[in-house]
C-alpha cells in the first residue's frame, strides 16, 4: 500500500501523461492535480490543492456524480463516467467554445491510515466524438436527400396521374377516350333535348379480334385498331366525334343526325374497313370486318341506357353473322 505522500509524490509520474488526473479525499478535497489538467482548465495546482473540488466545479454536487463518488470512499468498485452520458467530468474549454469530451475512470486507492482516496483519470475523446458527429451529419444529409428525392418522385407521379385524368385522348388510336365520350355525349343529349334535334350514335366492334390477337400477336392487333380508328375518323363528318370505347370497341357520335342518316355513314365505314388489307411480316395477309349497332336518342333515356341500346344492336349484328349494321 501507498502512503498518502507517496500517492501525491507520484505527481512526478502523473505530470508526464497526456491524461487529466486528480486525486480526492473523502471530503472532496483535491490532493493531486496534474499538469495536463492545469493546461486543460487553466487552474494551477497551487490554487486548487487542499481545496474542495466543488468550489471550482459545483456540478459535481449533483447526485449523478456525488452519489457515485461517495460509493468509492465506501470501499466500492471503480467508476466509469462515459463520454456519451456525461460529456465531461471536469469542464475544459477549447478555443472554439466547446468543451473537451472526456471518458473518465475513478479508482479507489487505500492508504495505510485506512483512508480511501479517489484517483480520477480523464481521457480526452474530443476528436473521436467529433469524427462520429461528422459521420452522423453526413448520414443525416444522405437521408434527407433520399427523402427529398422520394418527395420529388411522388410529386412527379401525382402530376402524371393528374395528366392522365385530364387527358381526353386514347394513347393508342389517338381518338378521344371513353372519359371524354361520357361528358361530350351528355352535352349532346342535353342539346338534342333542348332544341328537339335528332342525335344518333354508332357502336363499332371488330369481329374476331381475339383470334387476330392470338394468331398474329398483340402488336399486329394494335395496328388493326390504329388503322380502323383512322378510317373511322376519316369517313365520318367533321362535326361527328369518334371515341375508343373499350378494347376493340369504338363509338361515333352523330349530332343532328337521324337513324337513317347514321346507318349510311356506318355502312360507308364498314365497307372501307372490310377492304383494308393487313400484311404482317412473314405471315399471310388478312382483312377484318366490323359489326355496328346504331341507336337514335329517344329524348328521355339516360346516357347508360342510350349506349346500352347501341350495344344491343351491335350484338344483334354479331348474331346475324357479323360484318353488318343493325339498329334499334
Amino acid at each position: 500500500m501507498n502512503t498518502i505522500f507517496q500517492v501525491i509524490d507520484n505527481a512526478v509520474i502523473i505530470d508526464k501523461v497526456p491524461v487529466g488526473i486528480l486525486v480526492l479525499r473523502r471530503n472532496l478535497i483535491v490532493v493531486a492535480w496534474n499538469i495536463c489538467l492545469e493546461q486543460w482548465t487553466g487552474i494551477k495546482k497551487e490554487d486548487i490543492l487542499d481545496k474542495e473540488l466543488t468550489l471550482f466545479f459545483p456540478h459535481i454536487r449533483q447526485p449523478k456524480y456525488l452519489d457515485r463518488l461517495k460509493s468509492i470512499f465506501d470501499d466500492g468498485p471503480p467508476l466509469i463516467f462515459s463520454s456519451q452520458l456525461h460529456k465531461y467530468f471536469i469542464p475544459c474549454p477549447l478555443p472554439d467554445n466547446q468543451f473537451r469530451i472526456q471518458h473518465t475512470t475513478v479508482s479507489p486507492v487505500k492508504i495505510p491510515e485506512g483512508e480511501i482516496l479517489a484517483v480520477i483519470a480523464m481521457e480526452d475523446v474530443t476528436d473521436l466524438t467529433k469524427r462520429i458527429a461528422d459521420i452522423r451529419i453526413l448520414h443525416k444529409e444522405a437521408l434527407l436527400e433520399i427523402e427529398e428525392r422520394k418527395k420529388i418522385e411522388a410529386a412527379l407521379k401525382e402530376s402524371e396521374r393528374l395528366f392522365m385524368e385530364l387527358s381526353i385522348t386514347d394513347e393508342l388510336t389517338q381518338l378521344y377516350n371513353s372519359r371524354h365520350l361520357f361528358s361530350e355525349l351528355r352535352n349532346e343529349m342535353e342539346r338534342s333535348k333542348r332544341y328537339d334535334r335528332p342525335l344518333s350514335i354508332a357502336l363499332l366492334d371488330v369481329d374476331n379480334f381475339k383470334g387476330i390477337n392470338d394468331y398474329y400477336g398483340h402488336l399486329e392487333g394494335d395496328k388493326v385498331l390504329i388503322k380502323l380508328a383512322a378510317i373511322l375518323k376519316k369517313h365520318t363528318r367533321t362535326f361527328d366525334t369518334t371515341y375508343r370505347y373499350g378494347g376493340e370497341e369504338f363509338i361515333a357520335v352523330f349530332p343532328e343526325t337521324s337513324l337513317i342518316q347514321s346507318i349510311n355513314i356506318a355502312e360507308r365505314v364498314r365497307e372501307k374497313c372490310k377492304h383494308l388489307v393487313f400484311r404482317p411480316k412473314d405471315m399471310t395477309p388478312f382483312s377484318v370486318t366490323i359489326s355496328i349497332g346504331i341507336a337514335q336518342f329517344d329524348g328521355t333515356e339516360t346516357l347508360d341506357e342510350f349506349i346500352a341500346r347501341a350495344d344491343k344492336a351491335m350484338y344483334q349484328a354479331k348474331r346475324n353473322g357479323k360484318d353488318q349494321v343493325c339498329y334499334i
Binding site: 457515485r68 465506501d74 468498485p77 471503480p78 467508476l79 466509469i80 452520458l85 473521436l128 459521420i135
Partner: protein
C-alpha cells in the same frame, strides 16, 4: 460445490435486490427515462452447466462488461446483454448504431458505464451487507459467445456460477440483461459463510 440452503439463497436474493435497486436509481438519474429493474431469477450452478443454462443464447454474440474482484471471495461479475438488447440500449442512450470503428469505441464506453453502475450496485451491496472488503479491477468491455466470455479454458471447472437474471424495462424499450457472478473455487463457500454470519448477526436479514 456446496448447494446453498434456502435461507442463504433468500438472503442472497435480497442482497442482490438491494444492489440492483440502488443501481436502478442511479441509472434513472443519469438517463432521463424511467428504468425499471427486476430481479426475477437467481440460479446457482457449476460452470460446466453454463451452456445448458443459456440454451439458445449459447452461440449468439453477446456484449459483456466484466468486473473482476478479489478479497474474502474472489471472482468476476459480468453484465451480459444479448445483441438486440445491447443495440437497443445504445440506440436509446446515444442514437442509432453505425458501423464504424469510432462508433464502436463510444458504444463500448457507454455500455461499460451502464454495466459499471449495475455491477457496482450488486457488488457494493454484497460487500456492505456482508461487511467484507473487496478489491476490484477496472471494468472491461468484451464481445463474444457466453462460453468464450465466461467459460475460458483456464477457468477452473469447479467454479460456481451465480446467475441473476435482471430485466430492464426502459419505458417502451424491452432491454434485457443478465448479471452473472463467477466465484473462484472456495469463494462461493466463503460467500455462504459470510451470509450465515450476516443472518445470525443482523436483524435485517
Amino acid at each position: 460445490m456446496v448447494a446453498p440452503k434456502d435461507e442463504q439463497l433468500d438472503a442472497l436474493k435480497e442482497i442482490v435486490n438491494i444492489g440492483v435497486g440502488k443501481a436502478a436509481g442511479m441509472l434513472n438519474d443519469l438517463i432521463s427515462a424511467h428504468i425499471h429493474l427486476q430481479v426475477p431469477l437467481i440460479k446457482v450452478f457449476d460452470i460446466h452447466d453454463l451452456g445448458k443454462e443459456f440454451g439458445d443464447l449459447v452461440n449468439q454474440p453477446l456484449s459483456a462488461v466484466h468486473l473482476m474482484f478479489k478479497g474474502s471471495f474472489s471472482g468476476t461479475s459480468s453484465l451480459v446483454f444479448p445483441p438486440e438488447s445491447a443495440v437497443k440500449l445504445v440506440d436509446m442512450l446515444i442514437g442509432t448504431e453505425e458501423v464504424s470503428e469510432d462508433f464502436n469505441a463510444l458504444k463500448k464506453g457507454t455500455l461499460t458505464e451502464v454495466g459499471n453502475i449495475l455491477l457496482n450496485g450488486v457488488m457494493g451491496s454484497l460487500s456492505n451487507i456482508l461487511g467484507k472488503s473487496i478489491e476490484y479491477n477496472l471494468p472491461t468491455y468484451v464481445e463474444g459467445t457466453i462460453i468464450s466470455l465466461l467459460g475460458a479454458p483456464d477457468v477452473d471447472p469447479n467454479t460456481t456460477v451465480l446467475l441473476v437474471q435482471t430485466r430492464f424495462r426502459v419505458e417502451t424499450h424491452d432491454i434485457v440483461g443478465d448479471i452473472i457472478l463467477l466465484f473462484e473455487v472456495g469463494a462461493f463457500d466463503n460467500l455462504l459463510k459470510a451470509i450465515d454470519q450476516a443472518i445470525s448477526s443482523s436483524p435485517r436479514l
